[in-house]
């Protein structure tokens, strides 16, 4: 059930010059109709089999909505067939044919009747619709008082009240607020998992990539590509860029003559391209990603000054930022005829999600008023998507760090269990806490995406510490959704990020991280999981997940508020593409009230000979008088283990303070005598007064 088969599908609209010619056509039909046929969809063939999740993309006017209407039966094809097996539900545009005078409830009944449900079933489904739509008292108010968002909520809730065999979703979801979008996607995902065929239209790359295993690309009414979503999106972006580029030529042709001082042509920008830091051409940029714009410039006449200006404009033409090589002190004072130059401009795309264009100009000196060789608006169009940053609004990205001060909550009683978590627990972890002779107050949770490894560890701890170690076979990430897991030669190096092929082949020691296969998995956040498990805090967390540590920490939300210590692997050079580095993690954890205690297990990589020579000394100072040193060796620093502790762990407290007792038990298990000793330093009089 749920197959969708489309064969030779076409839809044409007949356009008449006027109503009168249509009337003439009606009253006296001729072989050749008087109207002009315009095909919006032609010769579309594809089959979606039961349970597939397919994204439909295309520029505006490509025929996406028409195709969905034909499949949903809301319009009839001019030629060909669209056949759906089983019950189909469609969320097309807004509304679903709602009546403004009826209440939400009455409209919901109407829509359910339209789906062919009998009265008893409607009675059963109604409360679920009401609950899912979450519009409160408005459910019994006439629809005319609804906001667009509420209508979208109701429409979606009604259309998906019962799982259909096939679900078609137009961009209706983009009108809802983020919360409801999230909720809708969750339901769509559940339907998909339960076997519903899914056809989804969206411009949101993230939505398509996370929901769909296949994508169709429509262009000018024809199906031009059918394949994996990533590849199809790349092609789509190229198409979009080409489309925009076409517009530029048009505009220059039209406006070129009217701009008196523009485009005199002594030097011209031949091409504008965008690259990532690895030198690959891109059109989709992650928020904050480091990018490089390359301008190829050809000089057609000897000139005595050459300045390149470059700026980024949003889709309304508002300049986001820009400067030129005069202001950066790099103006050229001469260029010869026939010379070819390449300008590279590097910046971080600290932009909000949306479409942006690159504006470029070649002038003689600081501004185009004096002499303007060439001027290009919208020279290159790229899209910014948010893959790695926290949700934010606005046109520019800047990390906002919140610090929340609230009166101390009463410390946990001394005998409350100490909860420890190990994320990425392959090869075992819990011995220090629950092993023989250790403090029996510990409760341990281990997380690993590999269910086999979790089963093995469960067995191992079942005898060692019965009932106190839980293994959770769950991949964690910063947001729930579908992600790719990159499996590597050494299973412990598996990551949510692709390993850098250059590093893993050049450094034999990094061979363990070489990619072997990829697998799509469903990921969740730590906060989500803890919410279900009824867990309020982790006293201690260890993370080693090959690059996803930061996003997992972000996904932990308020769970971190009670955390005393975090051990996390930090990278100084990325082994995986897009991997957050030490600075990113440090930044985040400090914003959440942690301080770095120490870095250990510093791993340097160098070639076999020479460069690991002793370069000097590193010191550990207790105070100015006591200083221990050890030798520092060469080689590039790749990673280390970082230990972060909550600032107030170091607050001096009386020995019987419950928090201090808990900290001592925790840090004793971690073997961190140094931290215990620091916290146990004698109280200064004012501190004693404060914490008594």
């Amino acid at each position: 059930m749920g197959d969708i088969v489309v064969k030779g599908l076409g839809k044409a609209y007949t356009r008449y010059a006027s109503r009168w010619s249509r009337l003439a056509d009606w009253l006296a039909p001729r072989a050749i109709p008087r109207g002009e046929r315009r095909w919006v969809l032609r010769e579309v063939d594809f089959a979606i089999w039961s349970g597939e999740t397919v994204g439909l993309i295309g520029l505006n006017g490509a025929g996406k909505s028409t195709l969905l209407k034909l499949i949903a039966g809301a319009a009839r094809p001019t030629e060909g067939t669209a056949w759906v097996q089983g019950r189909i539900a469609a969320v097309l545009e807004l509304g679903l044919g709602f009546h403004p005078d009826f209440t939400g409830r009455e409209n919901a009944v109407l829509a359910l009747q339209l789906q062919g449900f009998d009265p008893s079933k409607i009675t059963r489904l109604l409360p679920e619709v009401e609950q899912f739509a979450e519009i409160g008292d408005y459910f019994d108010q006439p629809l005319k008082v609804y906001s667009t968002g509420m209508q979208a909520r109701l429409a979606f809730a009604v259309a998906t009240a019962e799982r259909p065999d096939a679900l078609i979703v137009d961009e209706a979801l983009s009108v809802g607020d983020a919360y409801f979008q999230h909720k809708s996607f969750e339901r769509i995902r559940q339907f998909g998992a339960a076997g519903t065929t899914l056809l989804l239209v969206s411009h949101d790359k993230h939505a398509i990539l996370s929901l769909c295993r296949r994508a169709l690309l429509l262009d000018h009414g024809r199906l031009i590509m059918d394949g994996d979503p990533e590849g199809v999106f790349d092609y789509y972006n190229a198409l979009m860029a080409a489309d925009k580029a076409g517009q530029i030529q048009q505009r220059v042709g039209v406006n070129g003559g009217t701009r008196t001082d523009s485009g005199s042509g002594e030097a011209r920008i031949e091409s504008i391209d965008l690259y990532d830091t690895d030198g690959r051409p891109i059109t989709v940029v992650d928020v904050g990603q480091a990018v490089e714009v390359r301008f190829a410039v050809a000089v057609h006449d000897d000139i005595d000054g050459l300045v390149l200006g470059c700026g980024i404009k949003d889709r309304f033409g508002q300049m986001m930022f820009g400067t030129n090589s005069f202001y950066t002190g790099q103006a050229l004072t001469s260029a010869r005829r026939g010379e070819r130059l390449c300008f590279r401009v590097r910046f971080d795309a600290n932009l909000g999600v949306g479409t942006y264009s690159i504006h470029a100009s070649l002038v003689r000196e600081r501004s185009h008023v004096e002499k303007n060789y060439h001027w290009i608006d919208r020279g290159f169009v790229f899209e910014v998507v948010n893959l790695s940053k926290t949700e934010f609004v606005g046109l520019a990205w800047n990390e906002m760090r919140f610090e929340i001060e609230r009166p101390d909550e009463p410390p946990l009683p001394e005998d409350a269990p100490l909860i420890v978590g190990d994320i990425g627990c392959r090869w075992g972890f819990a011995e220090p806490f629950v092993g023989i002779g250790a403090d029996p107050r510990f409760v341990a949770y281990g997380f690993d995406p590999d269910p086999d490894e979790c089963a093995r560890l469960t067995e191992r701890y079942a005898t060692l510490a019965p009932g106190r170690v839980t293994l959770v076979p769950l991949p964690l990430a910063g947001r729930p959704g579908r992600r790719t897991l990159y499996l590597t030669r050494e299973p412990a190096c598996a990551s949510l990020l692709p390993p850098d092929p250059v590093l893993t082949t050049q450094y034999p020691a990094l061979d363990c991280a070489r990619l072997t296969e990829t697998r799509d998995i469903d990921v969740r956040t730590l906060a989500d999981w803890a919410g279900e498990a009824g867990l309020k805090r982790f006293d201690y967390l260890k993370l080693d997940t090959q690059g996803s540590e930061l996003e997992i920490l972000r996904g932990a939300g308020g769970l971190l508020d009670g955390t005393r210590c975090i051990d996390v692997e930090v990278e100084f050079n990325p082994i995986y593409r897009g991997q957050p580095l030490f600075a990113d993690i440090d930044h985040f954890l400090r914003s959440r009230g942690f301080v770095l205690w120490k870095l250990t297990n510093l791993v340097h990589y160098s070639h076999k000979d020479g460069s690991n020579a002793i370069l000097g000394e590193v010191a550990v100072c207790h105070d100015d008088a006591h200083r221990h040193t050890y030798p520092l060796r060469g080689g590039q620093l790749f990673w280390a283990d970082a230990r972060y502790i909550r600032v107030d762990v170091l607050t001096a407290r009386p020995p019987d303070h419950p928090q201090r007792c808990r900290d001592e038990a925790l840090f004793a298990a971690l073997g961190a005598a140094d931290i215990i000793a620091h916290a146990a330093r004698p109280l200064t009089p004012d501190l004693a007064g404060e914490s008594s």
Partner: protein, 263 residues
Amino acid sequence: MQSIKSIFKYRQFIIGSIYRNFQLKHRDALLGWAWRLLSPFLMILIYMTVFSQIMPVKFGAADEPFSYGVFLCVGVITWGFFIQTVEQLLVTFIQNAELIKKTGLPRICLPVVAVATAAIDFAIMFAIFFIVAAALGSIGPSFLLMAAPALAVLAALAMGLGLLLGVANVFFRDVEQVFRIGAQFWFWLTPVVYPIAILPDGVQDVIGWNPLTPLMLSLQAAANSVEGPEWGALAYPAGMALLMLFLGARLFRRCADDMADEL
């Protein structure tokens, strides 16, 4: 065949829509559903009392006290049914444009809802009239039997004409305007409130071409129970009704698919 299947498949929607049509009329009224009975009852009461007693018109069997009231009620109620059916059909596709554009609802369901709504309205009104008139002793049970053929032809004519105009109205909104003005003339060119006998012979001949004329005469004759209706007179309107139904169905079939594009 396909149409009957879709009507059955969407029966829940059809029943629900008819219910909503009535609900919509009364939802903001204090007495609510009571108006459904109250308003036809009051109307019939006014015709029967005011026109029969206070403003008596010499008419037919003058000894019959309520004869003009009965005459008026038969004419006005059946005319009302005719007009309401055509008007409902005239606007049904336009009013339900959203449903046509956004759902796979078979188009045939909409005229079914429109006709059923008008028919139920008429049935209530007619039943009340019959009870009141029978209680006053003005008509007997045989009236129903004698009125049935004319009512059937009237309904068929209304459906055929309504469907034809309703589909055309999707593409040419002028149809609605023209029909509303035309209906005013049509009312006075049909012997609804006056007996045809008061017209000059020449005018009577012209009005004879109006397919509603023989229908009205037949119904009024049945109500007055002076003589049995002339069945032969129904042939012309029945022929017109069949023609309208044929044209309406043909146009509907040809254009049903294009409606979504036009609306």
